[in-house]
Symmetry: C2
Subunit: 339 residues, 2 copies
């Protein structure tokens, strides 16, 4: 990878900053004099022979990359389902990366933008590290991040709002007359675990319900683990009348355990999941779940990227997709018609 | 798309067959004399200037395309989940196409192989038309088809075996003592509908059970439609004791309708689905389902393509992935532990 001229050697030769070279190579609007210097340096160094220079002329690969943490996760697939038609309609192919949420893999993807094999990138990292921010600041193609990035990061950004989502669920349970609302969460050292745990406490207080730490049980974001956490919680707090589960898989585990324990859902215990995956409608009783708008986030990201590709330089935008409570039988007892 | 020299004009100029030109442009082993003629003709016609010729030298784009009918269908996603790591480990990026099973879109994808934006293609068409076969015969990069192609088609081919799959299900129900086994199928003019309907009749006969056309109801491959078909079937044949459903969504509709009718599953009516999607394990009771090996088919397709990319010319191969019955509570009444 270290062969041939690099952005650094071109910057040195042209007597301009690396950022300027990056801007020129990205085809972003730049002062004419700078463009001239960079192009001259690039040609002197033989840079014209490689793929970057080729795409400098044609400017477009008609490809856009989508880097998701896990190709098996329904939330990312819901994004992909929306990203795909928007980009296809605009004449772009999608290059898919599954990074397994490994930071080094994500950095690789950002780094490889320098090869100009795509015109832009949509990335959905689980965590945004300092290394991410550094790469984003010098990315050689437009990037849209699905997830939260710090203020001032020079990329378009699409966010969910799980805090409001948890509040919607707790308000719904409270309105149904539930007063002993348990929370089954994933590990608090994950971004979603931390956010959802804090939101639960806030939402209880907003309803005027006392926070009781006995009502919180930590498990993991999987069905079996979630079920075990629910079993432990039921042992400790036999009179709980509702469960806020930090995702749908935990909620499915809750249904398993409540059924085995002879507790009726929702008559004895109402259950709410989160993410509104396909599994929520398939379960029985069907699961009330908080949608964090994966589909809408995917669509917004694709539209932001297209806008950036078509209109070039503008201020970075932040789009926050509001959550939505999808009410089903696990809280109201009324089964929908089959779908 | 009709500008500049084409494979046909090169073949004419070189005095060789179109297939030979295709082989040379694909970098497949070809007689030295033929390579020389084709390259000379290509250069005379100015073909060296375009992307095809460029990739002739570097030979590789390090990209492979996967064209699936529907990015929302869990069966294709199960394939993708397996294709992705195999190709990633070999240094390939995946370019994703969702064709919505529109033949013209699939033909476009095959046609665009001429642009050499990928080194190879895995395609999973719902139907294989004459136009497909014609394009496959002259494809400018290696192609693996997931689905059945006629004997002699010059591509690697990975197949499912839904016929044996239906037989596994019927044998299982028969072994459990079920004798009035209904079938809820999708439209018989679709490839899966036709195959599964015929397989049901065969499998009954192999068990020594009489075929009764009253036991068959046609619906569609969706939950609500499947449910309606089951309701009609129950009205007509109140004493049926088992249901073979042509996919998992139909089976979920069956569970809805049986529950509403007060029929216990599996005590009164045992239910089997097909495809073994994630929904099968999420439903209650969890669903016995025939896996047609989507994951294994994806893996096999990726491995066949890699082998072809690494070793070039060899006879086309056919891999048939055997089906597998995944037994859950909807036939045996025994719930698994949560997973």
């Amino acid at each position: 990878m270290a062969e041939g001229p690099t952005i650094t050697t071109i910057a040195e030769r042209a007597g301009v900053s690396i950022a300027s070279v990056s801007r020129v190579l990205n085809g972003l609007p730049t002062r004419q004099e700078t463009v001239r210097k960079v192009m001259a340096a690039a040609e002197e160094l033989g840079y014209v022979r490689n793929a970057v220079a080729r795409s400098l002329k044609s400017r477009r690969t008609h490809q856009v990359a989508f880097a998701m943490a896990d190709v098996g996760n329904p939330a990312y697939l819901a994004m992909l389902r929306q990203i795909q038609p928007v980009l296809k309609a605009a004449g772009y192919r999608i290059v898919l990366h599954s990074t397994d949420a490994v930071v080094a893999d994500e950095i690789d993807v950002l780094h490889s933008l320098g090869e100009r094999y795509v015109d832009g990138l949509i990335m959905s990292p689980l965590r945004v590290t300092g290394r991410h921010l550094q790469m984003l600041a010098t990315a050689r193609a437009p990037v849209v991040i699905i997830g939260s990035v710090p203020e001032g990061t020079p990329v378009d950004n699409v966010r969910a709002d799980s805090r409001t989502g948890v509040k919607l669920a707790i308000d719904h349970l409270h309105a149904l007359g539930r007063r002993r609302i348990g929370m089954v969460n994933g590990p608090p050292d994950t971004v979603p675990g931390a956010a959802r745990g804090a939101a639960y406490i806030e939402a209880l207080e907003a309803c005027g319900l006392p926070y009781d730490e006995n009502l919180v049980q930590i498990g993991d974001f999987y069905r079996a683990e979630g079920g075990r956490a629910v079993a432990a919680l039921l042992d400790r707090v036999p009179d709980l009348d509702a469960l806020m589960c930090a995702n749908d898989l935990i909620a499915l585990g809750a249904l398993d355990v409540l059924r085995a324990a002879g507790r009726r859902v929702p008559q004895d215990v109402a259950v709410v999941g989160m993410d509104d995956t396909d599994l929520a409608a398939a379960s029985w009783p069907s699961l009330t779940s908080v949608s964090l708008g994966s589909a809408e986030r995917g669509k917004a990201a694709a539209e932001l990227l297209l806008d950036r590709l078509q209109h070039g330089e503008r201020e970075p935008r932040v789009v926050t997709v509001p959550p939505r409570l999808v009410v089903r039988a696990s809280t109201t007892g009324e089964e929908e018609g089959g779908t």
